[in-house]
């Protein structure tokens, strides 16, 4: 069993200051011990960025849909650049996870949730193996060749809204994705 990311320095492209690691520990403590207060805080922070969210109805039966997975649990391949967890505004960038990625090569670059379970099994955040089973069983049409990982803990999502999220949306259009399933940390 691996130790939790919170018992060692987080996987980050830049060293994270002790003060920010302390904030992450407080967030974790709240998630465990005062989940209602944490949810109230998250709702208040999220509401600052409220705007009209686009909606696209599903246009095909599931059996014909190509499906992609998008997560904000900070899952990256072990040869990819970790997210920069040190920056104040948060790292809004993303990593591309190929559809045939080996789950054993996925590691976590995130420090604002309890990573214990996802370190045991990345399938709880990015269930690629199960999605491939669904395609083999005919429950969905096919699995997208590309999936996308973001890191959460982003106090200022401006760059996410203006640059990275549209890039990922365009990539999924290019891959002819019909349905994206988002799994948050």
């Amino acid at each position: 069993m691996q130790s939790s990311i919170h018992s060692r320095p987080p996987l980050s492209s830049s060293e994270v200051a002790w003060s920010k690691r302390a904030v992450a520990r407080v967030a974790l403590w709240m998630q465990r011990n005062t989940p209602g207060i944490y949810q109230w805080y998250a709702a208040r922070e999220n509401h600052r960025w409220h705007s009209e969210v686009p909606f696209s109805p599903l246009l095909k039966p599931l059996k014909q849909c190509r499906v992609a997975l998008v997560n904000s649990g900070g899952l990256i391949l072990d040869n990819q650049q970790p997210f920069n967890l040190a920056v104040e505004e948060g790292d809004c960038s993303y990593r591309v996870i190929p559809g045939d990625a080996d789950p054993a090569r996925l590691v976590v670059s995130h420090m604002f949730y309890d990573t214990h379970n996802v370190e045991l099994d990345s399938g709880v955040m990015l269930p690629l193996a199960v999605l491939n089973d669904f395609a083999a069983d005919g429950k969905i049409g096919s699995v997208s060749p590309r999936h996308f990982s973001f890191s959460g803990g982003i106090p200022d999502p401006t760059e996410l809204i203006e640059r990275y999220a549209p890039e990922v949306a365009e990539a999924m259009v290019s891959d002819e994705v019909d349905l994206a399933i988002l799994t948050p940390a």
């Binding site: 509401h47 969210v53 909606f55 379970n117 269930p127 199960v130 669904f134 429950k139 988002l182 948050p184």
Partner: protein, 68 residues
């Protein structure tokens, strides 16, 4: 989208969401248990096919309920 923070998700007006009542960090099934992961992911694709704008399905007590 799966949500583990339904109040925050509702405030943002995110369409087509499925709330699993469990702690952050484990949105799909249990670690090392492909069956529970398949179960939850299947609920996700079903919800995506059935839910409309600004609707949140709730999973509780082994049952999936859709908003009226």
């Amino acid at each position: 989208m799966v949500t583990l923070l339904p109040e925050a998700t509702r405030k943002l007006g995110v369409p087509r969401t499925l709330h699993f009542p469990r702690p952050l960090g484990t949105p799909i099934g249990r670690p090392g248990d492909r069956q529970t992961q398949a179960h939850d992911l299947e609920l996700c694709v079903q919800a995506a096919a059935q839910l409309g704008r600004e609707k949140m399905a709730e999973y509780s007590g082994d049952k999936l309920s859709y908003p009226v």
